[in-house]
């Protein structure tokens, strides 16, 4: 039926995996630097104007979210989609060409983004900082990804789309829609013929701009940090453990539930702001309802491991993935709690939010991407993973890092929130603003150390990966389930 010589082609998938490792290290090293800057402000002076916290912070968020995470997702996408559709990308040279072009343009885009942010060229909208020329390039990259996605689907041998493919389709559509609407802007040079050619002004003003931005900002989290990562876990956990997903029906329900509910929850970023009341309330309510579909997927994953918990002890890869789904449950519970109006009044603008973001991104997103690359590596290179011991160490080091990170940020956030509103016996504010900053010094230090541990783990990951490529024991045939690992 299939040409005997034909096999899956992982060229593009591999490229994205390398990129993911590189961006992961760059983005998180910058993250650790700015974390230390908050504890020791003199570190702001290292690189003149290019080294201040405010210049580096967008670089950290963008490189991690759109460099590390997107490359990791695409590495997994070009791997998973071939396998569950039972088609090799090599069978169609046009689709393969598109995939390669997708990669190259994306590299150019990412480089452009980093350079422009260093120079301070930004629209200031969080996670949408790119100016219009890069926005256009983003749209092109996205269209290429869409063509590759639907091209592969069009070539498929398996009629039914596996769960992961639904999530990839939703990822493509969701980000496309959100991105286009949020980045509507008018280039000023074309209207007036003056000033910088790359400057633009937002189509929306004030409250409307905020509304569109957080509709985007929240859902960018949904469609970049949640949807495609769920796609990954639905493939990699069953495959690595050799257990079919616990309930296919539950996965169907949580998919549609998530699609419907997630988009409504964006309003919770604007609670007590100037957007209409009913919308803020809606944001809160839907955020709470959102627990259901999120936990549906997470529980489905944990139940997949039912009766197979010995694997958790034996395989560090399973450890990464099970802890990832646990962190997913934690942050999808924490998020709705923060969206409750009275909690939000305390938590908004504080470090608790930063803590929440990081237990999701470090614990869930980064762990899944690390697990995915290490699961794919033996299949890419037909070699054993270089060292199991190193993976075990990386796992424990990074887990400790995450725990230090979020626990210190919880305490910092709640402390600061309480101090902002504390009053003395006459009803005057008890603390000046700077009091509420200096008190955070120990927590900022702990957080920076937690981040540092995580980054050390990333270097171990990169080392292990490179060693696997070069000197892992050669495998005679592709492993079916559990990935073989050297001592």
């Amino acid at each position: 039926m299939v040409n005997a010589a034909m096999e899956y082609d992982y060229t593009v998938s591999k490229w994205f995996a390398y990129l993911s490792i590189i961006f992961g290290i760059i983005g998180m090293v910058v993250g650790v630097l700015i974390a230390f800057q908050m504890a020791y402000p003199e570190l702001n002076n290292l690189f003149g104007q290019y080294g201040t916290f405010s210049r580096l912070r967008p670089i950290h968020t963008n490189v991690v979210a759109f460099g590390f995470t997107l490359s990791g997702i695409w590495a997994a996408f070009y791997y998973i989609s071939q396998r569950v559709l039972k088609v090799s990308i090599r069978e169609n040279s046009v689709v393969h060409g598109i995939a390669k072009l997708h990669f190259f343009l994306y590299v150019i885009l990412a480089a452009g983004l980093v350079v422009s942010l260093l120079l301070g060229i930004t629209t200031s909208k969080e996670y949408a900082e790119m100016e219009w020329p890069l926005d256009i390039l983003t749209v092109v990259v996205w269209i290429l990804f869409g063509l590759a996605l639907f091209g592969l689907i069009g070539m498929r041998r398996e009629k039914t789309l596996y769960i992961s493919m639904w999530y990839f389709i939703a990822f493509f559509l969701g980000v496309a829609m959100l991105y286009l609407f949020n980045n509507m802007e008018v280039p000023t040079y074309f209207v007036t013929g003056m000033g910088k050619w790359y400057h633009s002004v937002s189509m929306y003003a004030g409250t409307n701009d905020a509304l569109v931005q957080w509709w985007y900002g929240h859902n960018a989290v949904a469609f970049v940090f949640t949807v495609p990562i769920v796609a990954m876990i639905y493939y990699f956990l069953p495959k690595e453990s050799g257990q079919p997903v616990y309930s296919y029906k539950l996965s169907l329900l949580s998919f549609w539930g998530l699609m419907f509910v997630y988009l409504w929850a964006g309003g919770h970023h604007l609670i007590y702001s100037t957007v209409p009341d009913w919308m803020q309330t809606m944001g809160s309510i839907f955020s709470v309802i959102l627990i259901l579909p999120s936990w549906g997927s997470a529980i489905n994953m944990l139940l997949t491991m039912k009766g197979e918990w010995n694997q958790l002890k034996e395989s560090p890869l399973i450890k990464f993935m099970v802890l990832a789904s646990t962190f997913y449950m934690l942050s999808t519970l924490e998020g709705p709690i923060q969206a409750i109006k009275s909690v939000n009044a305390l938590a908004h603008f504080t470090d608790w939010i930063i803590g929440h973001v990081h237990d999701g991104t470090l614990g869930w997103v980064a762990f899944m991407i690390i697990a995915a690359t290490l699961h794919m590596a033996p299949r890419y290179y037909k070699r054993e993973i270089y060292s199991k011991k190193l993976m075990e160490m990386q796992f424990w080091l990074q887990t400790t890092g995450i725990v230090l990170y979020f626990s210190s940020m919880w305490i910092a956030g709640i402390t600061q929130g309480m101090m902002w509103r504390a009053v003395d016996q006459y009803g005057n504010l008890a603390y000046s603003f700077i009091d509420t900053v200096t008190v955070l010094h120990p927590y900022y230090t702990i957080r920076a150390i937690g981040g540092l541990l995580f980054v050390i783990g990333l270097f171990m990951w990169a080392y292990n990966y490179v060693k696997t490529m070069q000197s892992g024991k050669i495998l005679e045939k592709e492993p079916a389930f559990a990935s073989p690992m050297g001592a």
Partner: protein, 70 residues
């Protein structure tokens, strides 16, 4: 302005109701058709496990090659 607001409220309410009804009938449908044995949903879970290029698809896409085989 008021009209838009009212329309918005109605649209919101009915569309949500509509989707909730669909979602629930979906659940009922899924479990009922499996109970009656018309369809086995859980077999698709194996898509992730049995994913070699030459392994047999659960439901092959109709292509020229396999039409000829039939």
């Amino acid at each position: 302005m008021e009209n838009i607001r009212e329309l918005q409220a109605y649209a919101y309410f009915f569309f949500t109701l509509f989707l909730v009804v669909i979602l629930y009938s979906y659940i009922v449908h899924l479990y009922r058709s499996e109970k009656k044995g018309t369809r086995d949903y859980e077999q698709y879970g194996k898509l992730a496990l049995d994913d070699e290029l030459d392994s047999k698809p659960i439901e092959p896409q109709e292509t020229k090659e396999n039409k000829e085989q039939k």
